[in-house]
Amino acid sequence: MSHSSDLARAASAPASPVVTATGHRGLDREEALIFELDAEGRSGVDLPEPPPVTPRLGGLARRRPIGLPGLAEPQVVRHYVRLSRRNYAIDLGLYPLGSCTMKHNPRLNEKLARLPGFADLHPLQPEETTQGALRLMHELTHWLTTLCGMPGVALTPAAGAQGELCGLLCIRAALRAGGDQRQVVLVADSAHGTNPATAAMAGYRVEAVPANARGRVDLQALKARLGPDVAAMMLTNPNTCGLFEDEIAEAAAAVHAAGAFVYCDGANFNALVGRVRPGDLGIDCMHLNLHKTFSTPHGGGGPGSGPVMLAAALAPYAPLPFLLREGERLRLVERREGEAAASFGRMKAFHGQMGMFIRALAYMLSHGGDGLKQVAEDAVLTANYVLARVGDVLSPSFPGPCMHECLFDDRFLKGTGVTTLDFAKALIDEGFHPMTMYFPLVVHGALLIEPTETESLDSLEEFIAALRHLAAEATAGRAERFTGAPHLAPRRRLDETAAARKPVLRWRPPDRPRAAE
């Protein structure tokens, strides 16, 4: 085994009376990189020698092997299964990342997505052979527009951030169609970090709107800044403090009066689904993360899917392709002409993440309207339960109640020598994935917890007990268990600073340094 994994092993070994000859710890085996397992002449498949050919590649022919590792099939299987055992996933336990809505992915979704009539479709099949799939998309559109109270939807965006870009491009197209060249997008301080990046990518100058003392958008500051140069206001509701923007209707009215549009980041829609229709709040445009609210996999299991809901004023500018009903037939509008003449263009080669549409619709149909409403209620209930049960030992940043996530800052760690990062790492030793940390930026040393409706009371109690125990340990002066954490994970604390300052982006063979590649 190579030098690099020896080093990694030394760094990972916790204090133990047993030093094993193999470096493995019980059945928790060390794992080399797949490239380090390479052996000359080894292969998982037996292919016949290719017949002799006269290459016509000229100077483009490869001069060196491409460097793929050679392994037998059982080695490959064991390698990836061992790695997967070290992974943490929503299928293994509570995953309290704030603003990520890591919820259970029901197995029914998977069963339906694997039906051959869906799974074996090809996007280039003739439309008369894909009417069932188009009907599914049409049904999904109906659910999404009904839940959001907004008439239009663009299904193509691949995930949340692409959805945001799609939304801003619709807004830009709508403004330009009226000869309006507004330059500025206002972004709430309490909005998601992707929002300003999206606005900048769409060619706008970004200006921040501060939060007020209650953690919501400062309405007076917003009104003071609005003017003929503002194209849109972007906010997240509930915002990244886990708080409902309770003045959103008045904010939206002010934005509209200034001739601008309201973009809402829908990543936190899990708190509202079935209870609040964003269209009723004055929102013109909002992406949904099917991989959050509607239980399709993410965090390595994706792909994501980020449909964008559109008000009537923005719908004509939606990207291609989109679905159109003609009597009993459905068709995808693929060209920028006729009813699609105003479309701003295309964001993706085909019609979006079909597999995720199936899973999301399965989730909606299996829950029904009343079930989805209960999803939002339970998601908000679990977060408030955590807030109520640890509020006396952590430092809640804002008085409750919260929505689907609860925000703490690091006041409770003051003088302990323990930082937010240390506290989060110690949670790994207790068997939990850490919460979101240092975000949102509006509070100091943030800890943002989103339990979701997936968790049972038992599961919440175990998590709460771990949080209370760690808070007691920190205030009792046991800083060493935090500053060295995680102690019990397969790897100890990684050096994030070195990783960012001197990133090693690919593996290189030890005997073949950089120059040889």
Partner: protein
């Protein structure tokens, strides 16, 4: 004799004649933690007071650096791009970000003095 003044966003500016050298304060680098990336403005760019002029990124967060006063960027410090750790080591000294030729010296006079900034930071803690 050069004089250093401060903003509420934790930038400092040291004035020599009509050119001000700007950076982030020691308090700012402490709050950010290990700095891993710095982005500097183009020389010749004209900025207004409070306009985003540079970016600093740490393992915890990315933060914008605003121009403490309006003016034209006349120099930038490439050394901190090559070695962002310098910002942690010498925020108030060698790790300056950019130099501005001031458009209006009155903007400089309106900023906080050293003592005022120290009191401002104490109020935050």
């Amino acid at each position: 004799m050069s004089e250093t003044r401060f903003t509420k966003d934790h930038e400092w500016i040291r004035l020599d004649g009509t050119v001000g050298t700007c950076g982030i304060t020691d308090y700012a680098q402490q709050q950010l933690g290990d700095v891993v990336f710095v982005e500097l403005p183009e020389i010749g760019r004209k900025v207004a007071k409070g306009e985003q002029t540079a970016v600093v990124e740490s393992v915890k967060a990315a933060a914008e650096i605003y121009a403490p006063v309006g003016g034209e960027v006349v120099a930038t410090n490439a050394a901190i791009v090559d070695e962002p750790a310098k910002v942690n080591a010498a925020a108030m000294g060698d790790a300056w970000f950019f130099r501005l030729r001031l458009a209006d010296p009155r903007e400089f006079a309106a900023l906080m003095s050293d003592a005022e900034y120290q009191r401002f930071v104490e109020g935050l803690q």
